[in-house]
Symmetry: C2
Subunit: 188 residues, 2 copies
Amino acid sequence: MALDHAILVSLLERPGSGYELARRFERSIGHFWTATHQQIYRVLGRMVTDGLLLVREVEQQGRPDKKEYSVTGPGRAALAVWLHKPIEPESLRHDLAVKIRGAAFDDPAALIAEVERHRQVHRDRLAHYLAGELRDFTGPDAPAPQDAGQELQHVVLRGGIAYERMTIAWLDDVLATLHRLEAAGPGA
Amino acid sequence: MALDHAILVSLLERPGSGYELARRFERSIGHFWTATHQQIYRVLGRMVTDGLLLVREVEQQGRPDKKEYSVTGPGRAALAVWLHKPIEPESLRHDLAVKIRGAAFDDPAALIAEVERHRQVHRDRLAHYLAGELRDFTGPDAPAPQDAGQELQHVVLRGGIAYERMTIAWLDDVLATLHRLEAAGPGA
DNA sequence: TCCTTCTATGCAACTCGTTGCATAGACAAG
DNA sequence: CTTGTCTATGCAACGAGTTGCATAGAAGGA
């Protein structure tokens, strides 16, 4: 039930609406968690019922009203409990890796375009993360490091950057392998 | 529904029972997919019903009988269809990253032991992958590269190795950050 | 005026995945 | 001869996550 905790962390960093959370989850926070708006709305409702969050109706001009959520004392306590409980190291589910192994039973060369497309997505994500890092942490206009939260957000972002760099390098390796197999001929 | 396809690939590489699949998924294949035995048994049953797999009762000595599954023509065709369909680049769900950002609202130093534990797990996984690479691909006793399947399995394994190396380096970065915050004092 | 886009929220149905439990044969240790 | 471990399969219940659909206010362009 880690979506609950991801929501608690995000709302502690800054209160917001379900819609805003959904955008955070698909943008900046995208490098460590994902969730659709339907899932977020449902969990937000449950967390309010459980007393972990507070809702506040906010009237807006030029756009529909929204509900702003913030974390209550019990919500913060629930997060603290989770933070002190050990978690299982994550395990990956990487569809593309399944495809690559599966290509042995089809045409490996047919995968080249697909792998190139994925590499481009990861290049774009890397550029996005690097721009965010420059803006928020290392650039001339970035605020001076003052609190632990900023340092911790930065180290998580560095993780995202390292992940994208590693992935791009690996996809280059995959492409080189696919080209080698193509040159060796389909019968080899 | 990518578990279906992961099972098809694994059974094409070598037919086996549900139990064997579960062990493959938690061991060698663990670096690109995970699944519990309950999930595997359920999906195997459905895939037989759908005509994608064949079952064969195998009597064994010294252990209970098993059901060996293998891929049918339609199963192979279903895999080929999926291989030619583009997939979404994966997105991560990294609980530990949520914890690290959440630590800003608790005691960052309390996370050090947890992060060190995760680093150890990733060191162990890396050692396991490297041993497998030496045994199956780069060692003196490894079979000479002959077919595409072997090359593709190797490049996926290299991906797992790169992932573990990247993760260990990042966790070192996280630990350095946590120690810096601890030295700066809880009030900083 | 109508159409599209962006903001904003939500229901219903379904599939995927996890957890707990249950069974059972074979072997080894005590 | 009981207990524990490994192999082997499976059900039932629940919770997590996805997909499709629906609504609605406000802005801007055709």
